[in-house]
Each structure stands twice: as structure tokens, then as C-alpha cells.
């Protein structure tokens, strides 16, 4: 019986690869845009006008305080009501990017705030402009604090991307649901799905470790 199930699973291999591909593509796009937007939001949260900072703060809290499944449904079902046509893929990208950007915003804010005040004062006193201070002095130092949770967030993102199966995108998780209808061994199927996610996440975890080592080797220790 197990033999039969394995054979039938092997037949699902192309489908599984498609699902894995979808998960990777979704995550990658949301990772790139979420990071760019997240850094932008974090920097503006600290250095932007009061109004902008408050708006960003409120948005981030709203997104962090509501389930991702609800967000993705809202985007998928409500935007078309407002006349904005979008397919499941686009809706998934928007929802994931937004979620990712909001979490990264918080990570970046914490990183910026970890830079000692004296650093900003030294940069200020030497006549660097606001954005020069951010770019040359604050962000490079914030990165050491930002990097570990940032990569942790990427791992979460890949796992969160499984929620897009709820709006019908055939990602790795949905492939699991499809396969389990033909091969009634949920344990085996979802074990393999789990392996698929781990295979994508693990190199990221390794990469993070290497980056972290490289950064601290380049700087010497930060003095407090």
C-alpha cells in the first residue's frame, strides 16, 4: 500500500515542482519589494514629517494586528468591488509585500533606534544633511542589529506565503491539499510539503549566519 502511495506521489512530482515554484516566486517578489518598501517606511517613520510618521505607524500597527488571511481576503475581494481588477497572483503579491514591508519597517525602526545618540550628534555637528546622516552613519550601524531579524522575517514570509492557497493560488501548500485527495496519507504528504518549505528556508538561514559574521569581522566591535 505504501508502495502504491509512493508511486502515485511520484506522479505528482511535476505538480509539486510547480507549487514549489509558485511559493518561491511569490516569496521572492514579496521579499524584494517588501524589503525596499519596508526600509523606506522605517526611515520615514523615524526621519519623515510627524504626519507621515504617524500614518506609517498606524498602518503598521493595523497590519501587524490583523490576521494575514483576513488581509488577503480583503485585498482579493474588496479591491475588485472598487473597480480595481486583479488576479489571485497580484492580490497575493500585494498582500505579502505589504505584510512583509510592515514587519521590516518595525525591524528597521528598532535598528535605527539602537544607534547611539552620540553617533547622530557627531554626524550632525560635522554638517552632514539628514539623509547623509542616515545613509553614512545610522543605517550602516543599524544593519548589524537589523540583519538577523530581517532574515528571520524572510523565513516567516516564505511560511506565511502558504496562506495564498486560500485564494486559489497553486503554491506548495495547495499542492499538498490537491495531492492528499488522491493519496490518502496526510502525514506523508504534508511531511513532504514541510520538507519543501525547509529546503527553501534553510539556505536563507545559512546565508544570514554568513552575512552576520562578515559584517562583524569588517567592523570590529561596536563600542557602547
Amino acid at each position: 500500500m505504501i508502495w502504491q502511495q509512493l508511486e502515485s506521489l511520484a506522479g505528482s512530482y511535476p505538480l509539486a515542482m510547480r507549487g514549489l515554484g509558485m511559493t518561491v516566486v511569490l516569496s521572492l517578489i514579496a521579499l524584494v519589494f517588501g524589503t525596499l518598501i519596508g526600509f523606506g517606511l522605517g526611515i520615514l517613520r523615524i526621519g519623515g514629517s510627524r504626519v507621515l510618521s504617524t500614518v506609517i505607524g498606524a498602518w503598521v500597527d493595523l497590519i501587524r494586528g490583523t490576521p494575514f488571511l483576513v488581509q488577503i481576503f480583503l485585498i482579493f475581494f474588496i479591491l475588485p468591488e472598487l473597480g480595481i481588477k486583479l488576479d489571485a497572483f497580484t492580490a497575493g503579491i500585494i498582500a505579502l509585500t505589504n505584510l512583509n514591508a510592515c514587519f521590516i519597517c518595525e525591524i528597521v525602526v528598532a535598528g535605527i533606534q539602537s544607534v547611539p545618540k552620540g553617533q547622530v550628534e557627531a554626524a550632525l555637528a560635522s554638517g552632514l544633511s539628514k539623509w547623509q546622516r542616515m545613509r553614512q552613519v545610522v543605517l550602516p550601524q543599524a544593519m548589524r542589529v537589523v540583519l538577523p531579524p530581517l532574515v528571520g522575517q524572510y523565513v516567516l514570509l516564505i511560511k506565511d506565503s502558504s496562506v495564498v492557497s486560500a485564494i486559489g493560488l497553486t503554491d506548495l501548500t495547495r499542492v499538498g491539499w490537491l495531492v492528499v485527495q488522491r493519496v490518502p496519507n496526510g502525514l506523508l504528504v504534508f511531511f513532504l510539503v514541510g520538507v519543501g518549505y525547509f529546503v527553501v528556508c534553510y539556505p536563507l538561514i545559512l546565508l544570514a549566519r554568513r552575512l552576520e559574521k562578515r559584517m562583524s569581522a569588517a567592523h570590529g566591535e561596536v563600542q557602547l
Binding site: 547611539p116 553617533q119 550628534e121 550632525l124 560635522s126 554638517g127 550602516p140 567592523h219
Partner: protein, 257 residues
């Protein structure tokens, strides 16, 4: 080296820093109480006084690290805090040396020094690096250009910090207790650099309790207590013959150490 204001180059304003009835509060705490003080070009003024008397706040107002709430503060002919004054531009003329050095830990000694010249003054990188190496040599660290701050001693870090300020060719240098975070054996190497800067004719305000330094290069010592300037005079005069009870008590305390 003796200097006097009668040697001022003609045509220049005769005051670089002028406090006129300056007041500042932190909440309800009156930190600067009706400060009136002017500093001439090439003058070296030492500021001393007990902890919490407002010395740091006084010099931090000069480059706008703190804002004043009342009175007038004119620096290099520009009114500090006036919306018409470009503070970023004014700051390029004022070097500030911190008690805790505040070198950028992710940059080498040379990169610390060239950052502002390259990005603010728009000096070509090659020129900025050449100048930076010369400045490092001048503060006695010619071989340390590639060292990160964490690889330098406190005294070396503070000398890099001074070189970092000098690289902007400022008109004014402010020092906030530049040697009080240092081990005793490193104090003189930093003071020597400061003396050299003073002797080149830099206008300086120095918060310090280093009386030897004050005697060597200062034209004036200003004594602060509880946000006010209580006494001000030539170093010899102030140290040997303090006029107020508060300055006597203060000098008694620091000289006993």
C-alpha cells in the same frame, strides 16, 4: 604663546561667538540663566564649573545641538535658531569634540576623517584622503589610517576625533570635556594636540577641568554654576585669586584631587 586681540586682522568682525541674555530650560529646569558672553577670533576660552552647572549645554547651543529659548546667540555672524540661518552650513564651520569621542565604529580612522569633507565640502576623494593622512600624522597617528576605532586606545580615538573636526577647516572648535573619559596617562597626548590647535590661532571654547591646559593657552576662564556665569577672568587671576565663594569652593575641590 601670547596672543592678544589687538593683533586682529582688520576688516574681520571682532566677535565670533556672542551670547546676549541667553536662557534655556529643560522642562522647568533653568539650565542657562541669562548668559552674556562673547568670544573673539583666535581666543581660547575655558569653561569650568561643577557637574550639572550647564557647561555642556552652553557649548552645545553654539552649534545647535541644543536650542535656546530666549536671548540672542550669534555665531560667525549668523543668528543661531533663526529660520533664515542655514544651521547645516553653520555647523561645517564649527568642530565639536565629544567627551565620548563618538567616532563612527564602522569606518576606519581615515574614513572617519574624510566623510564630511567628501560629502559636505565635496572635496575630491583623493584630495580628502591626502589631507586626512596629513592630519593623522599631525595628531601623531600617521600609521593608524586603516585602524577601526575599536582598535585604538581612548587617547588615540580622541586625537582622531580632533583630526576629524580639523579636516573641515572650521573657524571654531568646541570641546566638551575631551579628556575626562581618558585614563590619566593618555590625557597629555590629547591636551598636546589641543595646545597645538590653539597655537595655530583657532577660536576655541573648551569645557575642561584641566587647569594646566587653561594656564598654557586660555585667555579667559569662565566659571559656571547653576546655569549662570559666576565669574570670568584671565586664568592666572582666576586660579590664584578667585573672587566668589562658589568659585573658591569649586577650585578647592578640584585642586585637592
Amino acid at each position: 604663546m601670547a596672543r592678544c586681540s589687538c593683533e586682529l586682522p582688520s576688516g574681520r568682525f571682532s566677535v565670533v561667538i556672542e551670547f546676549q541674555g541667553v536662557n534655556k530650560w529643560f522642562g522647568s529646569l533653568h539650565v542657562l540663566n541669562d548668559i552674556t558672553l562673547s568670544v573673539q577670533p583666535r581666543e581660547v576660552v575655558v569653561v569650568c564649573g561643577p557637574s550639572g552647572s550647564g557647561k555642556s549645554t552652553l557649548i552645545r547651543c553654539i552649534n545647535g545641538l541644543e536650542q535656546i529659548q530666549k536671548g540672542d546667540l550669534v555665531v560667525d555672524e549668523k543668528r543661531v535658531g533663526d529660520p533664515a540661518t542655514n544651521m547645516t552650513l553653520l555647523r561645517t564651520e564649527i568642530g565639536f569634540v565629544f567627551q565620548s569621542f563618538n567616532l563612527y565604529p564602522h569606518k576606519t580612522a581615515l574614513e572617519n576623517i574624510t566623510l564630511a569633507p567628501i560629502h559636505v565640502r565635496k572635496t575630491p576623494r583623493a584630495q580628502a584622503e591626502k589631507d586626512g593622512r596629513e592630519l593623522l600624522a599631525k595628531v601623531g597617528l600617521g600609521d593608524k589610517f586603516n585602524a577601526y576605532p575599536s582598535q585604538l586606545s581612548g587617547g588615540q580615538q580622541q586625537r582622531v576625533a580632533i583630526a576629524r573636526c580639523l579636516a573641515m577647516r572650521p573657524k571654531i572648535m568646541l570641546f566638551d570635556e575631551p579628556t575626562s573619559a581618558l585614563d590619566p596617562e593618555m590625557i597629555s597626548e590629547v591636551l598636546d594636540v589641543m595646545v597645538a590647535v590653539a597655537e595655530e590661532g583657532m577660536t576655541m571654547m573648551v569645557v575642561t577641568h584641566e587647569m594646566g591646559f587653561a594656564r598654557r593657552v586660555a585667555q579667559r576662564v569662565v566659571f559656571m554654576d547653576q546655569g549662570s556665569i559666576v565669574e570670568s577672568g584671565a586664568p592666572e587671576e582666576f586660579f590664584s585669586n578667585p573672587k566668589t565663594e562658589r568659585s573658591k569652593a569649586f577650585l578647592g575641590k578640584i585642586l585637592r584631587h
